[in-house]
Symmetry: D2
Amino acid sequence: MASDSVNELSIRLRDFARARDWEQFHSPKNLAMALAGEAGELLEHFQWLTEAQSYELSEAKRDEVALELADILIYVLRCAERLGVDVMDAAWRKVEINERRYPAHRVRGDARRASEYDIESDGE
Amino acid sequence: MASDSVNELSIRLRDFARARDWEQFHSPKNLAMALAGEAGELLEHFQWLTEAQSYELSEAKRDEVALELADILIYVLRCAERLGVDVMDAAWRKVEINERRYPAHRVRGDARRASEYDIESDGE
Amino acid sequence: MASDSVNELSIRLRDFARARDWEQFHSPKNLAMALAGEAGELLEHFQWLTEAQSYELSEAKRDEVALELADILIYVLRCAERLGVDVMDAAWRKVEINERRYPAHRVRGDARRASEYDIESDGE
Amino acid sequence: MASDSVNELSIRLRDFARARDWEQFHSPKNLAMALAGEAGELLEHFQWLTEAQSYELSEAKRDEVALELADILIYVLRCAERLGVDVMDAAWRKVEINERRYPAHRVRGDARRASEYDIESDGE
């Protein structure tokens, strides 16, 4: 079974880049572009599907999408490594921020953005 | 210290969405859009910087970028969870694909895409 | 009424950049990033809406989206100008390519991508 | 010579979609996704190039990029048409907004975003 440790994967990716002398291309700027390029490829799988169809991909399509998500994850980890930031730490912090920002009792079933809630609370 | 287990984070994110009845909005299609929207925010941090400047962010900026990367990671995990795919397994497979596709001795210091290598090898 | 000439707008945008000594930042690479960043902002308007809701924006929202589309158009024109390519000529060529690639009688009501049609026609 | 009228191109694109019964797929939401997907393809051309290299594409590459920009322009126009907004009018308004927001004498040679100027002016 594949390890689910982000640190292990991140080290393997760094070693991959170093062995190819590719760190010279892996500036944070370039990695952000590569990440967004992969995000564009992910969109292309879904753009003409309805939301309902987007749950019901064929096995082959589902695996293609899994590999696109993997590409994005890979660039997230590369970009974090090159910047010297801990993305898992940031993700756990973000979860806590979101738990405070969107209290379950207040936002249940409503997907508006925090800024729109804030606009409303101005009027309270 | 924050856990670096993708599975733990993914479960917490799923529970967050369920507690807010937000799974109705979290179709793979919508999550792909949200992910790409966050990738766009990441780009905005780097678009007018040189590559050299992109390594030398202020502490405050570096943390903003860490949180953008975290947002992207969060949507990668949400999208994988909603599709029922194992993104870490896909990432490890992708590493192996890339190690075969880009042999270190052949591509050292050269960032062209695999398709361009393939085009060249057609002519061999 | 606003001119609908792309050339007029493109010249005004070039003059805007020159008057601010911003051409140094407007490399094709940077403009592509800025464009994709704006495309990410566009997505954020639609990501939690159903397709039906995406037609029925409020007046205020519709205008925000119009301005996002304008930002994207602006970067398309800036990028084309910096590369010395004629994007309207390319767009008219692309229309002709698409008219050949997707004959109306063959693809009516079917949004699959050309590559998928091609795969199928391999088997004919 | 290709017409540089956005209205002419927009009408041709609408007729193309209608002849294929593709308007059912062309919701603003889906068109925003398709646009962002094309923006991702644009990024891929530039992600490993330096800024200097991004000016010096081969003729073949330059034409590929022109066609990517054309794809983005096409989706900008389709999305505007489906929403019933006038993107050229919005672009000219945006030029005027930017001319006020970034006075040439104040921002010459400096690419920081307006929000950063605003933060500074708070302290004046």
